[in-house]
């Protein structure tokens, strides 16, 4: 379990890593360029991989090592690779159309993070160490920021990335709070990410062929 008999610098490293994770989600909130987004997502996934590895060493759990390396392959390498390839193939005009101005997005992100800290503190602080509370709060804030990204940006690629950030948050929450979660759960979640991303990419290709763009703001025919 977390919080026992580890040298102090491990906690410092964990704190640092998790704050970088938070930073990367704010980078996504403040960027206008899709390729920037995808790189930020890859960087975030890489940080989560390192964090999972450290937590695995701490909990002495082989399952976590396995999950960490799968995260490396799927989240850090494969998904960003196919997204970037997709962008290159379809020669997307890279700028994202934002409904909210960037300063407002960042302020909303801050508010969401504070709410996440508050909720997690109320929920798990009676039985968890401070470091777990910290990691879990940032994981929850990733989930919130992911939802915010979906509702505030109107292209298919950013929708997919929003979902992926939500999945990252759930994954981080699960490894931080319940490192004993059965490995089958993590495996099927990864499988699910692969399938969902593939399906959504195929759908957005259909959309590109029909409407000539990846923008979802013209999807307004079905109402009532």
């Amino acid at each position: 379990m977390l919080g026992y008999s580890m040298p102090l610098y491990i906690y410092v490293i964990e704190d640092l890593l998790v704050s970088l994770v938070l930073l990367s989600s704010f980078v996504m909130l403040s960027s206008r360029w899709i390729s920037f987004y995808i790189h930020a997502y890859g960087f975030q996934s890489f940080l989560i991989f390192v964090l999972t590895l450290i937590l695995g060493i701490e909990a002495q759990s082989v399952d976590l090592y396995l999950v960490a390396f799968l995260t490396l392959f799927v989240r850090t390498i494969f998904v960003p690779y196919i997204l970037l390839k997709m962008i290159k193939k379809f020669n997307i005009k890279e700028e994202v159309k934002l409904t909210l101005k960037i300063p407002f997005s960042i302020i909303s992100g801050v508010v969401l993070t504070v709410i996440a800290y508050f909720l997690i503190y109320r929920l798990i602080s009676p039985f968890s160490s401070k470091i777990v509370v910290n990691v879990a709060s940032i994981a929850l804030s990733l989930i919130f920021v992911g939802f915010f990204m979906i509702i505030s940006r109107f292209t298919t690629i950013t929708h997919i990335l929003g979902l992926l950030v939500i999945e990252n948050g759930i994954f981080l929450l699960s490894v931080a709070v319940v490192p004993t979660l059965p490995i089958i759960v993590e495996l099927v979640v990864l499988f699910d990410i692969l399938v969902t991303v593939t399906a959504m990419l195929i759908l957005s290709m259909f959309m590109k062929m029909r409407t000539g763009s990846f923008s979802t703001s013209m999807l307004n025919r079905l109402v009532g």
Partner: protein, 497 residues
């Protein structure tokens, strides 16, 4: 009796049908192989149900597969719709290829995903681990979103995109809830560790779960899976996807997928009820149920599209079922379970009818569909009886289930709920009957060009079968069904003796 064999047949036959029809690329073969697979499934579902009802629950593969009465009932409901839809899709797809310029590629993609969709829905109620169940629900989303774009148009792409985006975000919330459920059994320093996500284990050890976390986790589960069920306010994708999908798929989405997703909520409802007492989860289900009924009825009143009409009617029905489970008690739960069956039977009839109208009139606009009675008499006859059965006029099974739910609300002293429910049901009754009446009996357009007469028997036999069943069940509920539903009531709500 070795039940492994039958479960294997139930699961493998849609899988084989989907792959073989995609590989062989023969139209006739593809049509009849899915019909054969679904007939095998319905037989297998009855055998599994018979075994579970008369002997004991089935546990296989180190408890990875657990089938009790509730699961077996759901498997039967899914396979009924799969069977009817695969009969109907013979007629629907032939017409689509001949009249709507559907290409061969689109047809074989349809057959591939149609059977795969059935497979993912059939396996969902068998799974014991709730996280794996959720991922399976996510897979149903993906297979069915490809069915929504069977005919690739801008509208269908829009519907599929909304569907996959909204439901995937919903499922991720439900996954968060599942992880919190696991946390509630694994509090560090607690004496009783429940380290499993199997509903069998969680149900047995529910008293050891941490109550504060179970409260939040249950709400997340209801929101997440409620997105898939189409409960308001998470229903936004429902009318789009149901109206743009081909009619056999709309029937499967509406009549069986909703039940499969609701199954998950009810499993968690039982666990949360054992952990917290049933008061808290019941209030949540009652609130969300009433709100869904409200949204559904409002959608029915302001609707101009025939298929969206039944999509809103599905939202209303799911609201009634959720309300029934929420009210609890023997009448409420029994009524909700019976309503699941009634919804399955009548809603598939209505979607098949709407599909026939669509092929004849080339429009979904209710105001342009007039005088069906003179143009397609058999479909019109079944459609009008179906719409009467759908809104719960006495000889239909839906009347009994809705009556039981109202009875339960009066018995528990929720008089306001009863009044609201009766009011909404009346509103739905009036508006649905006016709309279907104007479609069926209105004065036909004199300039109507298309050939008169019904389509092939494949287009109206799948309407006739469930309709007849729902009317017969309205008069007489067989003792086997009665025992089954009573058994499920005891599984869900343990406090009833």
């Amino acid at each position: 009796m070795n039940m492994k064999l039958f479960i294997f047949i139930v699961l493998i036959s849609p899988l084989l049908a989907s792959l073989s029809s995609f590989i062989l690329k023969n139209k006739r073969f593809a049509e009849y192989i899915s019909l054969l697979a679904s007939s095998l499934d319905i037989i297998g579902a009855f055998i599994i149900l018979y075994f579970v009802l008369n002997f004991k629950p089935i546990f296989l593969f180190n408890n990875a597969i657990a089938i009790d009465k509730f699961s077996a009932y759901l498997i039967l409901l899914v396979s009924i719709v799969y069977f009817l839809s695969s009969i109907y899709s013979i007629s629907y797809m032939r017409l689509a290829i001949n009249n709507e310029k559907m290409t061969e590629n689109e047809f074989f993609r349809y057959e591939l995903f149609f059977n795969l969709f059935a497979f993912t829905m059939l396996i969902a109620p068998m799974i014991n681990n709730m996280a794996v169940y959720l991922i399976d629900i996510e897979l149903t989303t993906i297979t069915s979103s490809f069915l929504v774009i069977s005919e690739v148009t801008e509208k269908s792409i829009e519907a599929a995109w909304k569907y996959i985006l909204v439901v995937s975000s919903g499922i991720s919330l439900a996954l968060l809830g599942t992880i919190l459920f696991y946390l509630s059994g694994n509090i560090p320093g607690s004496a009783n560790i429940v380290s499993s996500l199997d509903w069998t284990v969680l149900g047995l050890n529910a008293v050891y779960l941490n109550e504060g976390i179970v409260r939040i986790a249950f709400v997340l589960i209801v929101i997440g899976l409620g997105t898939k069920v189409g409960l308001s306010p998470m229903h936004t994708w429902v009318p789009d996807a149901y109206s743009e999908a081909p009619s056999p798929v709309s029937a499967m989405l509406s009549a069986s997928l909703e039940n499969v997703a609701l199954y998950g909520i009810i499993r968690y409802f039982g666990i949360a009820g054992k952990s917290l007492g049933f008061g808290y989860p019941e209030v949540i289900l009652i609130t969300i149920g009433i709100f869904s009924i409200f949204i559904g009825v409002m959608g029915i009143i302001y609707q101009n599209s025939s298929k969206r009409l039944f999509a809103y009617s599905s939202i209303e029905h799911m609201g009634i079922i959720t309300l029934g489970f929420g009210l609890g008690g023997i009448f409420g739960t029994f009524g909700a379970l019976l309503q699941m069956l009634g919804h399955t039977l009548t809603k598939s009839t209505m979607y098949f009818g709407a599909g026939n109208f669509l092929h004849k009139f080339k429009t979904k606009n209710i105001k342009k569909i007039k005088g069906v009675f003179h143009i397609m008499p058999k479909t019109a006859f079944l459609f009008s009886i179906g719409s009467v059965a759908l809104i719960g006029v006495p000889p239909s099974v839906i009347f009994i289930s809705e009556f039981l739910i109202i009875l339960q609300s009066l018995k528990d002293g929720y008089y306001l709920v009863a009044v609201i429910l009766i009011g909404f049901l009346l509103a739905a009754f009036i508006s649905l009957l006016t709309k279907s009446g104007s479609m069926v009996f209105g004065k036909a357009d004199e300039n109507f060009k298309a050939e008169r007469g019904d389509f092939s028997p494949f287009s109206y036999v799948p309407m006739l079968l469930p309709l007849a069943a729902s009317l017969i069940l309205g008069f007489y509920i067989p003792s086997g069904l009665h025992n089954l539903l009573i058994g499920i009531v005891h599984i869900i709500n343990f406090k009833i003796k």
